[in-house]
């Protein structure tokens, strides 16, 4: 399969942006060709300084959330995006996530995700082991969040620096509610008040977290209904 990668690049020191088109015959990927993802291709391109772009690569199996980027307009993990499935007319356009500061090429600074969780006070205050046992399934589901930021990328309400923290905070919030932590004030202020219920985050989570169910559950918690 002959592909053209159309990559939005950013120079590290100047911030200058430009597009680079790179042709790749996927046959060079050998045995991996059929199962190859955008991450496979980028790793191949890494081998030559002419085609190497800055990006972050972690586990290559959708568990660590590192390689989030925008692939043919859809935010995805590069290790989750099969070449055959995402190519359109032989082209794959790759851009960095748009809601975070770009460091270089496809590498973005997602530190703000941590800042959100810190200002939300996302930690346990006291032990409610009974609650943890009773709500085990919710705690488990919510604990799977990768903090990759894809849900913020598609959110019409989230913008960087705003008061609304989005689904990347709402999902861990479900864990804390499940564990018996009272963060109703923070939830109201940083999630509930800002969420437009567009549910654009519904099908974007690479971990397949049931975002709807957790949001609905959180909202019930906010209003004191179990």
């Amino acid at each position: 399969m002959q592909l053209i990668f159309d990559i939005l690049r950013t120079e590290k020191n100047t911030g200058r942006q430009y597009r680079q088109e790179i042709e790749l015959d996927t046959a060079v990927l050998g045995a991996d060709e059929k199962k190859a993802t955008v991450a496979t291709a980028l790793r191949y391109l890494d081998k030559s300084s002419d085609t190497r772009v800055a990006w972050d690569c972690g586990c290559l199996q959708r568990r660590c959330g590192t390689c989030a980027m925008v692939i043919n307009k859809r935010p995805a993990l590069a290790c989750d995006a099969r070449l055959a499935a995402c190519a359109k007319k032989g082209r794959i356009r790759i851009e960095p996530l748009g809601k975070f500061p770009v460091i270089e090429d496809l590498r973005v600074d997602r530190t703000i995700l941590q800042e959100h969780l810190k200002s939300y006070r996302m930690w346990q205050d006291g032990t409610r082991a009974d609650s943890a046992v009773q709500h085990r399934d919710v705690v488990y589901e919510a604990s799977r969040c990768l903090q990759c930021g894809l849900c913020l990328e598609v959110c019409p309400n989230y913008y960087t620096g705003g008061r609304f923290f989005g689904t990347a905070t709402a999902v861990p919030a479900a864990r804390l509610f499940g564990l018996g932590g009272d963060r109703r004030k923070e939830y109201g202020r940083h999630v509930y008040a800002g969420c437009g219920k567009s549910l654009s985050c519904r099908n974007i989570c690479p971990a397949g977290i049931d975002v709807d169910a957790l949001l609905a559950r959180n909202n019930r918690q906010l209003w004191g209904r179990q």
């Binding site: 991996d32 199962k35 290559l60 590192t66 006070r121």
Partner: protein, 539 residues
């Protein structure tokens, strides 16, 4: 003289299970630490751990005891592990589980509400606590939250996107009193701004395994380059048991890496088989032609023999002409509720990356590099050979000897991180027992190499030399090729030195023990029952 009086923040390199456990320990003692890692903890390899974590809770009616956990761990490690350290590990494991429970880890439960435990390889009692098939992720999520609380108190200062460039070098003085005022520390570089920083304080290395020595051929993450260990090695730190590399018996090749099929799949009833050949040499693909070799050859533990045994059996049966050349993991007998409750993610992952449903069709598997038992040498208190430098987690050789039991890595990392942090607070920069300080390096030169490109050429050589079965000739050949590589490139990197050290360690052990199997020395010898240690000056 007071070597502990220095209250500089503890410098923790790495934010996986070991690093977070260390940070939590320091913060709970109301001391400050800097948590330095190339990526935030959500990206750490620890999130990949699936099957569980070992602790004697005896919730399954098996009459399990701490003594048995110690004995299994020592036996699994073929008596190379530090017994004092292993004893402490097994004694504290149940307390750590209680702590994790209080932090909200959603462990699977028995009907009576107690924590459920499953069978894992090399152990006859159900001792492995687990949270679905994502135990590592669940532990990490809880620990990240726990540490965050102290970030808000400024006791933990996080330096995500910062790479380790080297240990600080301080001149030793002949005056013991003055020397004790000296300090260890680290050079780090901000990967975003490229700014170089140096911090003084006791150092706890929690930088993970040496996956980067075998790029693309391990079950780990690309972040674990092995560079921290390699640089510290060039600065004089002593390494141990480098030849002990665990090949996990059940992995599958996917683009860029090997995907692990957790041991829990066998713990829950998965069975290994090979296809027999018929009279005419044709491969028998029907169920009657299946040879469940582990069950036939090892009736007691069957598919749950220790990993090195299973890997060697698979390796040899794959090469045996009498069989079909492929080994399968048959998980079709696992009940539907077990898939849903305990192995859901594994099933989803196999479906996603391989295709057929493992609940219906056996999955072809082969051994792959999974864990490094060897690494930075440490005493039972996690002190390395360098003053003021401590180590914990997979980068540290201490608990697992010649082979690691499934479920002991996560517990070893969490228990080790705690002890290393306590020692760092207690001893600080302690040279009284004669430990030297780190040798000088040029941190800028290391910075240029901060997140080094995968060295596939070096990895290919190492894989040939350090396969499941080794021998003198192949080790010598690999060493010659590494030296040749060094010469043609005209420079030596820390990883090239580390590669030589790994090969030399494997040559030095002229016996077979645990994960180290020598075709030319198949016997285990009492005389060799000691760890292999190596310094850069030995090369």
């Amino acid at each position: 003289m007071n070597s502990t009086g220095n209250d500089a923040p503890i410098l923790i390199i790495g934010a996986g299970l070991a690093g977070l456990s260390a940070a939590l320990t320091v913060a709970r003692a109301k001391r400050r630490c800097r948590l330095i890692s190339v990526a935030p903890p959500e990206r750490a390899q620890s999130v990949l751990a699936e099957g569980g974590t070992n602790a004697v809770l005896d919730t399954m009616g098996d009459h399990d005891t701490v003594e048995e956990h110690i004995a299994d761990t020592m036996r699994g490690g073929c008596f190379l592990a530090d017994e004092k350290a292993v004893r402490r590990l097994c004694e504290t494991a149940p307390l750590i589980i209680r702590d994790l429970e209080a932090l909200g880890v959603p462990f699977n439960r028995n009907a009576d509400g107690t924590i459920a435990q499953r069978y894992f390889g090399g152990q006859k009692k159900r001792r492995t606590a687990f949270a679905g098939a994502m135990t590592g992720k669940m532990l990490m999520s809880a620990l990240i939250d726990a540490v965050r609380k102290y970030e808000a108190d400024d006791l933990v200062e996080r330096y995500d996107h910062h790479a380790f460039c080297g240990l600080l070098h301080t001149e030793r003085t002949p005056d013991e009193e003055q020397a004790a005022q000296g300090t260890s520390g680290v050079y780090v570089q901000d990967l975003y701004t490229e700014e170089m920083l140096s911090f003084e304080g006791p150092v706890v290395l929690c930088s993970g395994g040496l996956n980067g020595m075998f790029p693309g051929h391990t079950t780990g993450t690309a972040y674990n380059t092995g560079e921290v260990t390699a640089i510290a090695f060039t600065q004089g730190i002593r390494l141990a048991n480098l030849e002990m590399i665990q090949y996990h018996p059940t992995t599958v090749a996917i683009p860029g890496k090997r995907l692990l099929v957790t041991e829990a799949a066998r713990g829950e009833g998965g069975r290994l088989f090979v296809e027999k050949k018929g009279a005419g040499g044709e491969i028998l693909t029907a169920p009657e032609g299946r040879y469940y070799f582990m069950e036939e050859r090892y009736p007691a533990l069957g598919n749950l023999m220790p990993r090195d045994v299973v890997s060697r059996e698979i390796d040899s049966i794959l090469a045996d002409d009498h069989y079909g050349g492929r080994v399968f993991l048959d998980m079709t007998g696992i009940p539907a509720d077990v898939w849903d409750e305990r192995l859901a993610e594994l099933r989803e992952e196999i479906l996603h990356y391989l295709g057929p449903d493992p609940a219906k069709v056996p999955v072809p598997v082969a051994p792959g590099i999974h864990y490094f038992m060897g690494g930075i040498d440490a005493d039972a208190e996690h002190r390395t050979s360098l003053a003021g430098v401590y180590a914990a987690g997979e980068c540290c050789a201490l608990y697992h000897g010649a082979n690691r039991l499934g479920g002991n890595s996560t517990m070893g990392a969490m228990a080790g991180g705690r002890v290393a942090a306590e020692s760092a607070m207690r001893y600080g920069y302690d040279i009284r027992d004669g430990r030297p300080g780190a040798l000088a390096i040029d941190p800028l030169r290391q910075a240029a190499n901060r997140l080094p490109e995968p060295d596939e050429e070096l990895g290919d050589i190492l894989r040939e030399g350090l396969g499941i079965v080794r021998n003198e000739a192949s080790l010598q050949r690999a060493l010659r090729r590494v030296t040749e590589l060094e010469r043609t490139r005209g420079n030596s990197t820390p990883r090239i030195l580390l590669a030589k050290a790994m090969l030399k360690s494997a040559m030095q052990r002229k016996e077979s023990r645990g994960a180290h199997y020598r075709g030319d020395y198949p016997e285990t010898l009492d005389a060799c029952r000691r760890k292999t240690v190596i310094y850069a000056t030995d090369l």
